[in-house]
Structure formats: C-alpha cells, structure tokens
Symmetry: C2
C-alpha cells in the first residue's frame, strides 16, 4: 500500500494545522523530537516533512535553544497582489504623497510599506546593458518590506546619461517615485513590457527574504519605454514565489 508515506502524512498534517491556526504566524512549532513522538516516527522523518514546508516558505527554522531564538517558526506570509497595469499609472503612484507604486500597492492592501535604497553607478549586467543599450548605469537597489517583513528585492537600472547628478541618485525620490522624476527630466514612460519567470533564489535573496535555499522566486523583468521607443528604466523584481499574485489586463488591438 503506497497510500501516503509517513513523512508526507506528517507534512500534510503540519500544513493543515498551520493553515487552521493551530500554529499561528510567528509561533513556534514543537521540536522535531516532540513531533516525531507525537506521530510515532523518527526525527529523520520529521525533518523530511519540515523540509517540504520550508521549501514552501511556510516555516522557517532557526538553530539554538528553545524559548528564545531556536526552533521552527511559522512564517507570516503576506499575500500580496501586484496589479501591473494600474500600479504604474501616475494617479496611483502619487496618491497621498506615496513614494511610488509599491507604497500605494501595499497600503491599499492594509499593510505598512517600507523600503531601503542603495544607489551606485555601476556597470550594467549583460542583459540590462542589452535592453538599455548602454553599460554605464545608475543602480537603485531597493529592499522592500510589508509590515516589516521582507517581501521584495528589486534593483532598478537607469542609463547614467539620464540619471547621473539628478535626484535619481538620492534615496528618496519624492512623491510618485522614480517614474515621476524621470518624467520631469524629459523621459515620461508610456509603454511597459514585463517578463515573468520562476527560478531558485540566489544567495542574497535567500538571506534577505529568509527563504530556504531551494525555494522558488518569481523574477519580473520590467522595462519602461518613452513614446519614442527609448528604454529608460529596467527593474528586476524578485519576490517569494508563493507570496505574490500578479495581475495583468489589456485590450485587444
């Protein structure tokens, strides 16, 4: 009887318990020995089960003594909806003095947005250089949080010829964010292309997003174009694959 192997049964039961609130977000799962005893299986089997949940980003173990620090924690997974078409509209970006699309987006879903930015002039990665047609770029590396939970890592690239020496090299780009400033600089964007794929998280992403090392992320390559067909900005969004929903809409022709 293949039925269901032990570790899958344990996986399902733990997941179920988590989803039904027996172990609410932020709480601690019982220790591995304890779970094993409760289900009548060995610790190795419990670990197999937990490994699956880790890959799903549902739990998040830390070594160390229980009580403080150690144990396997249930993660709060913010389910975030990203409305690609509407989020870039000027009205949305600048509503209530928001600092751009992410700000508005998170707030509209009842969470508190926060983000850090690291700016530098760098050599563009190959694919970015191809898209922008130049190697010299200003990189704005953003790390974003919702309710203080890391939810997105997104470096943006703008040709240095456009951004260098402007407000785009500062952390806070003001109301409406980067797109509003680019428009003021003479590069209003009117067309967007996005490319979505799923891949394993990189080391950096694992660390920042607190993901298991075989956890999937969605990678969104976003390019903004002027009416003349000039690409002026590329952003590579990386988000935990299980935590986001991407919405698109368009008219035929």
């Amino acid at each position: 009887m293949p039925a269901r192997s032990h570790y899958r049964r344990v996986t399902d039961e733990l997941r179920d318990a988590i989803e039904r609130g027996v172990y609410p977000p932020g709480s601690l799962l019982p220790g591995e020995h304890e779970i094993g005893a409760a289900h009548g299986v060995s610790r190795a089997t419990v670990q197999n089960a937990i490994k699956v949940l880790r890959g799903e980003g549902l739990v998040h173990p830390r070594r160390g003594r229980a009580g403080a620090g150690g144990g396997t924690y249930v993660r709060a997974i913010p389910q975030i909806r990203r409305r690609a078409v509407t989020r870039y509209r000027q009205g949305a970006r600048e509503a209530n003095a928001a600092r751009g699309a992410f700000d508005t987006e998170i707030r509209s879903q009842g969470m508190v947005p926060r983000s850090d930015v690291l700016v530098a002039v760098v050599d563009a990665p190959e694919r970015v250089a191809e898209l922008l047609g130049t190697r010299q770029v200003v990189r704005r590396e953003r790390r974003m949080y919702a309710d203080d939970i890391p939810v997105q890592l997104a470096p943006s690239y703008i040709p240095a010829s456009i951004a260098e020496g402007t407000v785009l090299e500062q952390a806070d780009t003001g109301p409406g964010g980067m797109l509003s400033r680019l428009a003021e600089l003479g590069y209003p964007q009117s067309r967007f292309t996005e490319s979505v794929r799923v891949r394993r998280a990189t080391r950096d992403e694992q660390e920042f997003l607190d993901l298991a090392d075989d956890a999937p992320v969605m990678e969104i390559w976003h390019t903004g174009w002027t009416a003349a067909g000039l690409p002026v900005e590329v952003t590579v969004h990386a988000v935990p694959a299980y935590g986001w929903v991407l919405d698109y809409e368009w008219d035929d022709e």
Copy 2:
C-alpha cells in the same frame, strides 16, 4: 564561511554537469550508489542532492531495472515563451490554419505542438462560477505537448448557455480555435485579464507533467471579455514553473 554541505556540493556538481551537457536531456544519470562512490558520500546524501534536482524538474527518476526503464533521467525542459498579449490576436491564432494560440506559439519556437481535449458539461468550480456568473458550463480540458513532452494542463470554461450544442463541444474547434468560434457565435473578445500565481502541483498535474510532488507550477487565470463587459471564457493554465516565461506589454492609459 558555512562551508557548503556535502549534499549541496553534489547537487551543484550534478546540476552543473547537466547544464554543461555531460548528461544531455533524456540521458541516464549514474546510479545513486555510483554517484555516492564517485563523490565519497553515502547514498542517503546522494538522494538528498537528487531530491533538490527533482524539485527543480531537472531530473526525473524511475524505479526499475537499469538498461531499460529504471534510473534517474535528465529531463528535456522545453523553455517556452508565452506572449500573452500577442497570442490572442486573431492574426496569430489563425496563421497557417493553426488551431489557436498554443499551436502558433509552440510552432514559432521551433517545436511541434499537440493537444488532447476532453469536453464535458459540468458544474463550474466556485471561483469560475463567480467570474462567469453562472454554474452551468462547458468544460474543455486540454492537455498540451511540445515535441511530445507534456507542457501544460489547461481547462477552459464557457457558459453552457453559449457553448452547448455548438462546435465548442467538439474536440477540434477548427482554425483559430475557440476564440474564433466564440466570435462567430456573437461573442468576440476584446479585453483580457490574467492573474498569475505559483503553487504546488496537484496530483493530476504531477502525473501529467511528470513533476515531483513538491514541484511548483505557475497557474494563470485567463478571462476573456466582450466589448460589453461580459465574461465569456475562463481558462486556468497550469505549467511547470521552471519551464515557462510569461511576457506582457501594455501602453499607459
């Protein structure tokens, strides 16, 4: 320096070997004992490594005697690009007597498309009923292949009031596929919405797409609307998360 664990090292080396063509698609990896001997680790460690590759859909073990059947196979992962906006245009769908969007899409990428369809009148799943505003629907369950490799599972739902007794209940919907027939029936679609998320594969999907049971799939909810704002078709595409790239494009306002 955490000093990579053994199984991660083995994972990386196997993945690297696969990507560099040492083990080409369709070929057989060495047995688990053999890999273990080659890397100086136990079989359990090798299995940990292979489990990761399985989750990525890169390999695909089968039990049974070597030489025929048994062993761990390297999967041919067709990398497929789905151009959401262009694929639904009439010109694209009907080019060269194609049977719809998928046909054209796969052919344009140098592969041979094939698909099976199963049609039935059913009660719509809840979310579908909400979207279409009716419970009675015709379901067209499509299983799609590229170069004879299963690449997509996609049930479509059309209100029974529209589809029942029409060509839409037949397997082959003719040149241009479902959308062209719906247009002829008086329901041309002019607006589309899509919603993308990542989730674990269901049992059915695991089996058909030949995925590990914790493998991620991308789920694309596609809705087609008439100019009057009537939803006439919902399709839920499920594809292996690591094998597809989704392209979108739109103009601002």
